[in-house]
């Protein structure tokens, strides 16, 4: 694999939601432009309904109805993985199959699945169906599914919502462990400020209304600092002025 040298460049001049069912058309995103250095962990945060998820869908190529351009800075198709707000697993396929299905046929990365399952603590649940395991476990399957691809770009849309605190915290630590073992460019959407400080190397805050970037700050914490509650709180206070 060729090393990534070019940054990911995102430019969304204008994104409009058309009028649907009594709701007037409205401007969701405007004048968004930023570059992302390879290997950085960028958290995009902002009030709910400000267009964070829309932005990720545009970057993922799921929404092509916008003005602007996304340049991944790689030749050919970039390898993109997306961890959605809900796990979005195939309920009729086992845990193992759900992970294996994203790997192209005949690709040697299938061999990494057992190790990955062990890392996310699901070795003994490989043959279970998603509806038979807990939401926290389903989210771990979704994480494993994203990481098995060894993606160049990892998009995450509030992947730890609707979990109890300890479970969410354990999953954040798991994500940091997986990411520091195999660094990749991450775009992570959340409205949770503590979560954003704990994970990010850089935070982008979107403004309310038709969102544009209100703040763009680096988070100079080491991996060890991130597991310290005090240091995360201090940093959160510095960036958001609260905490």
């Amino acid at each position: 694999m060729a090393p990534l040298t070019h940054p990911l460049s995102i430019r969304i001049d204008k994104k409009i939601f058309p009028a649907v069912g009594g709701r007037e058309q409205h401007l969701v995103l405007k004048g968004i432009a930023f570059d992302v250095e390879p290997g950085s962990f960028v958290v995009i945060t902002g009030p709910s309904g400000c267009g964070k998820s829309t932005m990720l869908n545009i970057i993922a190529g799921l929404d092509e109805d916008y003005e602007g351009a996304i340049d991944f800075g790689v030749d050919g198709h970039p390898r993109v993985a997306y961890v959605f707000q809900t796990p979005r697993l195939l309920p009729w396929r086992t845990v193992y199959e759900n992970i294996a299905l994203v790997v192209p046929d005949g690709d040697p990365r299938v061999a990494n699945i057992p190790e990955l399952l062990q890392r996310v603590g699901l070795s003994s649940d490989a043959a279970a169906y998603p509806e038979m395991i807990s939401l926290g476990m389903q989210r771990r399957v979704a994480l494993a599914r994203a990481f098995v691809l060894e993606p160049e770009f990892l998009l995450m849309d509030e992947p730890f919502v609707s979990l109890d605190d300890p479970t969410a915290q354990a999953l954040r630590e798991l994500l940091v462990a997986l990411w520091s073992r195999r660094p990749t460019t991450v775009l992570f959407v959340t409205h949770d400020r503590a979560e954003s400080v704990m994970l990010a190397t850089r935070i982008l805050r979107l403004s309310e209304g038709s969102a544009s970037i209100a703040q763009d700050v680096a988070v100079p914490l080491s991996v060890a600092d991130r597991s310290s509650r005090a240091k995360v709180l201090a940093e959160q206070h510095r960036i958001f002025g609260d905490g």
Binding site: H77, F84, R88, L90, R93, L101, E131, M132
Partner: protein, 260 residues
């Protein structure tokens, strides 16, 4: 100690599903026997008389050839109706414009009496095998189409996006994402459709074929031969039940293994 005492009592009262089915069937036969004894009429024979006719017909080979003829018609019209009905249903579920336009057609065909379709098919295509199978299939197609349209409408956008981001491609998406979502709708229309086909195929045979269970029932009706009618009805019910238990139920159990 306590367990040792309790175990036999429990066993005696635990009959299970099969046991209960057997008892309830025996009760039905007993009721029939009693009714026949009271009526003492040649129009209400007892169970044994019916079984005798059944054995006689089976030994003569008549029973098997007629049931086979009916089963072949059922198989052909069932497969044709499922195929065409699914295609129509999926197209309507996917394309909104087509759905708006053809919805009234669908309602028209849903409410068209089976008898009208059968009679018209025989008039237009003659008293042929093709007309018979067409008549049965046309009766069932609208039901299948309506169910499959519901299935196509309920396809998950979330999973479609997931398959798109992870580059599943057309074939993988169809096999692992789309078809499993449609399977319950297909199974539902297959089961209700089969029940419908069983019934309509007999009418079609009675009207315009020279073999099959329906034809045989028609002859028995003209002779007021009630034992013959009941013998064929019973044999047919048994065959349908065997197909339900041996094919349809295991298939739907297999398809639902992932459900909680």
């Amino acid at each position: 100690m306590l367990q040792a005492v309790n175990a036999p009592t429990q066993q005696r009262f635990k009959l299970g599903r099969v046991g209960w089915s057997l008892i309830s069937l025996l009760a039905l036969v007993a009721l029939w026997e009693i009714a026949a004894l009271i009526a003492q009429s040649r129009y209400l024979p007892g169970p044994w008389a019916v079984v005798e006719v059944m054995i006689r017909e089976a030994e003569a080979g008549e029973l098997w050839t007629n049931i086979a003829a009916t089963l072949i018609r059922v198989a052909f019209s069932f497969v044709i109706a499922m195929f065409i009905g699914s295609a129509i249903g999926l197209a309507l579920g996917k394309f909104k414009g087509a759905d708006l336009f053809f919805d009234s057609w669908l309602i028209f065909f849903l409410n068209l009496p089976a008898l009208v379709i059968i009679v018209l098919c025989y008039i237009w295509f003659g008293l042929t095998e093709v007309a018979a199978i067409t008549a049965v299939a046309v009766n069932k197609i609208p039901n299948v189409a309506v169910t499959m349209r519901e299935g196509a409408r309920s396809l998950s956008k979330d999973l479609e996006e997931m398959a798109c981001v992870y580059r599943f491609g057309r074939w993988k998406t169809l096999r692992h994402v789309t078809v499993p979502q449609l399977a319950p709708f297909f199974a539902a229309s297959a089961r209700s459709g089969l029940a419908l086909v069983w019934k309509i195929v007999l009418v079609v045979e009675a009207f315009g074929r020279s073999n099959g269970v329906g034809h045989q029932l028609n002859i028995a009706f003209q002779l007021f031969d009630v034992p013959m009618i009941l013998a064929y009805a019973l044999a047919f019910v048994i065959v349908v039940q065997i197909i339900e238990m041996a094919i349809v139920q295991p298939l739907s159990a297999r398809a639902n293994i992932w459900r909680r």
